[in-house]
Symmetry: C2
Subunit: 189 residues, 2 copies
DNA sequence: GTCTATAAAGCGATAGAC
DNA sequence: GTCTATCGCTTTATAGAC
């Protein structure tokens, strides 16, 4: 429970929330110090390369979560339950639109250049896993590709707008419509 | 041509690109100095309140552009050409996905709190103008509201993913699909 | 209107005591 | 493993010459 590994994982999760709130540039070490309760010395003990290493580990942590809860369920060809898993995970993770997608946030400005591989890999895998699951569910390749892109982009857009409008309902109902579109496509073929 | 007003407008446009590239926190005064060719003294002459005032004027500049090219055409009830105007303006403005939406970028992190009214107003007006145009084109209120949200959120998502994947084609084809969905809805009713 | 010089604060990062 | 103190640099912002 309190193994060194778990302690560091919890620390990474805490730092992730600070990056979410302030962005990469806005998340200063003093804010991270304040938000984690750890002094700079402790932070550099865990992350010798400093802020860059913190962000890299945060992205790794996010990728592992999505792998387990979204990518792998979708990639298991035989499991039609993958879609249900994805919608549940998306709702769990983004807290009905109160939480942004940090990978998307990093993609927007020059922070992307530092973490281009992780950012590209996250979205590429999500879209490909979803597309593959849709093909296995019977859609042809073009339909599956288009719908997978629509869904992943639609989630990102809904997250931005929920925050811009300060309206979590926006996220909830847009996610609901995306889900209905996907399920309609599955029924139709 | 070189009136003081036009000179400042050109300056604001230049500063906007620097905010786009580095985000609000990442756009330091030295980067703005470098990108505009103006010293700090000159910048504070134009924007006495500093970076906050620069960003506020940038948001105003963006809002004026969208008002003229997108919101007003959509709000003119009799003009079905409003949709064409919007798609053309979106393509012009975002340079086929090479340019991000600064309003959306500001919405993501704590920068939003500084400019909440401008950010909320921009998206609210876009969605409402589009919804109103769709209703005037014959859609019922619920369909128009849903489609307007899908389109605006879809554009934001496509911009994020085009940058994340470093793939402008992603934006172009997703925008194309959004347009087809809208036109299909118009034909169907 | 633009510049240089400079102030005061905050930044990421390091050193070293404990 | 955590802390305090501190370094060197950059930040936003101001002052004042031209």
């Amino acid at each position: 429970m309190d193994s060194p590994d778990n302690a560091k994982t919890a620390l990474v999760a805490r730092i992730a929330e600070i990056f979410r709130e302030f962005g990469y540039e806005g998340a200063s070490l003093s804010r991270i110090t304040e938000g984690t309760g750890l002094g700079k010395g402790s932070l550099y003990h865990f992350f010798p390369a400093g802020k860059t290493e913190m962000a890299a580990e945060v992205l790794l942590h996010i990728d592992r979560w999505f792998s387990r809860r979204i990518f792998q369920p979708l990639e298991q060809a035989d499991a039609l339950t993958g879609f249900d898993d994805m919608w549940r995970a998306v709702d769990d993770y983004f807290l009905a639109g109160r939480r942004i997608c940090l990978v998307g946030a990093f993609a927007v400005d020059s922070t992307r250049d530092r973490f281009a591989a992780a950012i590209n890999g996250y979205f590429t895998r999500w879209i490909q896993a979803l597309q593959q699951a849709l093909r296995h569910a019977g859609l042809n390749s073009a339909e599956a590709a288009a719908l997978a892109e629509d869904v992943v982009a639609g989630i990102q857009g809904a997250l931005i707008l929920a925050r811009a409008l300060d309206d979590t309902d926006f996220f909830t109902r847009n996610l609901q419509r995306l889900r209905q579109r996907l399920e309609l496509a599955l029924v139709r073929q």
